[in-house]
């Protein structure tokens, strides 16, 4: 499902503050696999995740996801790729605070040509899976941390993505909510989603997953 070959990422190339963030990373993830990227702060986890998510482009190497090469995809196509195949979950939730839960969840669907009914169905399904349907019309800024994270999960699921990328998903959650999150991840894993989680939270040790350690931009 995810195939990385010899990925390098150099920030600020040929400038004084040049920084080699990823070095020759090769990684294969098959469909339905659950991967945990571990590593200290600054090791390059977020960078790697963003390259998989086509948010940034590698300085060299190839990225193939679901048989589509995305390393050099122009933005117009990369965005379609993200909208169709990816779901993002972030540490700081990254929700629109002033909008309601339902409005937040529909944002990834805005540029897709779907009927209002489809939209409603998809939003409802995603909210059910993430167990946030009871807050559908509440403004996000009024939610608790755990609820915000569930809203973010629903948003990541609303486009029925094949791949879900999580960057430090539990860093802002308490133990109880972290457990709920892990339960949801397990459920998604059982549903056959390919999931990549970047974290250094030891709570993930309890999951049955392939663990990949990153140090200074290389896999060890």
């Amino acid at each position: 499902m995810i195939k990385l070959e010899n990925i390098n990422k150099i920030y600020n190339q040929s400038r004084p503050n040049e920084f080699h963030a990823l070095k020759n990373i090769s990684l294969h993830v098959s469909e339905g696999e659950l991967i945990i990227l571990k590593g200290v702060s600054g090791s390059g986890k977020s960078t790697l995740l963003s390259i998989i998510g086509s948010l940034i482009k590698p300085s060299s190497g190839s990225v193939v996801i679901d048989n589509q090469s995305i390393a050099k995809l122009p933005d117009l196509h990369a965005s379609v790729f993200r909208a169709d195949k990816l779901g993002f979950i972030f540490q700081s939730f990254n929700l629109f605070e002033e909008l309601s839960v339902a409005e937040n969840i529909t944002t990834p669907l805005i540029h897709k040509s779907i009927t209002p009914k489809e939209l409603k169905d998809k939003t409802a399904t995603a909210m059910n899976t993430a167990q946030i349907q009871h807050k559908a019309n509440t403004q996000v800024k009024l939610l608790s941390g755990g609820e915000k994270q569930r809203c973010a999960i629903a948003r990541a699921l609303v486009n029925s993505p094949k791949v879900i990328l999580c960057d430090e998903p539990t860093a802002n959650l308490d133990a109880k909510n972290s457990k709920i999150f892990i339960k949801t991840i397990k459920k998604l894993h059982d549903d056959g989603k390919t999931i990549v989680i970047a974290t250094h939270d030891s709570i993930f040790d309890s999951i049955d997953a392939k663990i990949i350690n990153i140090q200074n931009g290389t896999i060890v």
């Binding site: 600020n12 190339q13 040929s14 482009k57 590698p58 300085s59 060299s60 390393a71 050099k72 995809l73 122009p74 933005d75 117009l76 196509h77």
Partner: protein, 320 residues
Amino acid sequence: MIFLSNGVIVFLFIETLLLILLSVAFINVLTILKSWNFEATTTKQYILEKRSYLVLLIIFFTLSFKIILLPYFAYMIDTLSDVVPGAMCAAGVINANKYGVWLLWLKIFILFLVGIWIILNHYDLKAENYPFFKKKLWLFILIFALIAGESVLDILYLKNISTKSIVSCCSSIYGASGISNPIPFDLHVNELLALFYLLFTLSITTAIYRFKFFSLLSNIAFLYIAYYAVVYFFGTYIYELPTHLCPFCMLQSGYYYIGYFIWGTLFLGTFFGMSVSIIEYLTDIDLSRLFRYSIIFNTTFILICSTYVLLYYIKNGVFL
């Protein structure tokens, strides 16, 4: 006198603004063309790709305004006929000095290139590797050069319109001058008409059977003959006066602005008829589905024209 009316002031202001914007795009195009290499994975290339969005944005913005501005130009010239002595409609004003006619043709030609650019851009963005990127930028440079020339002509033309010396009105510009026949190839009006419908049939046929190159040729011929057919035949039915020969008067409110529709559909119909083979030459993409639009617009054009003749016949029982 350059500021002939408030309309002219606004027109020049808008043209200047657009030219400034286009210059910004032009400078960016030059830097992009200089080091564009789609295969490269350097930061520089990605910066250029981002920059290309600015260029596209500006081009898209200005060119859409250009499209609105051509009919507006015609309208403005038409209203100037109140200021220019002797002029009854845009014909007199356009012919007020030697630049007018050239300016008008240049504007139409630019619009034609703009149309091609828009289609080219569409297919370039549709592909995953910017296949026509350089071509479309070069085409833009050509358009930019022409627009710069257009601005110079704009100023020369408007500056040299005199509000004192009397210009001819349309009937003396387009009317038969007695000795020579103004219709090309010395055709009689009936022959002109026959040729007109023949070329229309030809352009439709080539469009249906997708003979791209022949469609180009037949649409060029159709455009040329249709112009004369409208001025020397259909126009007289629009004006309901056999001696009124003018391509511009029909733009006036007295004729319900029908001129904009007539010339607009003719432009669009022949544009799509011609552009297919031009764009295919540039890109190797099969665009025959665009022929559909050629058929639609050319047919609309001919229906509008013929309806006037028919209506006149029904109302009066005779032809002019």
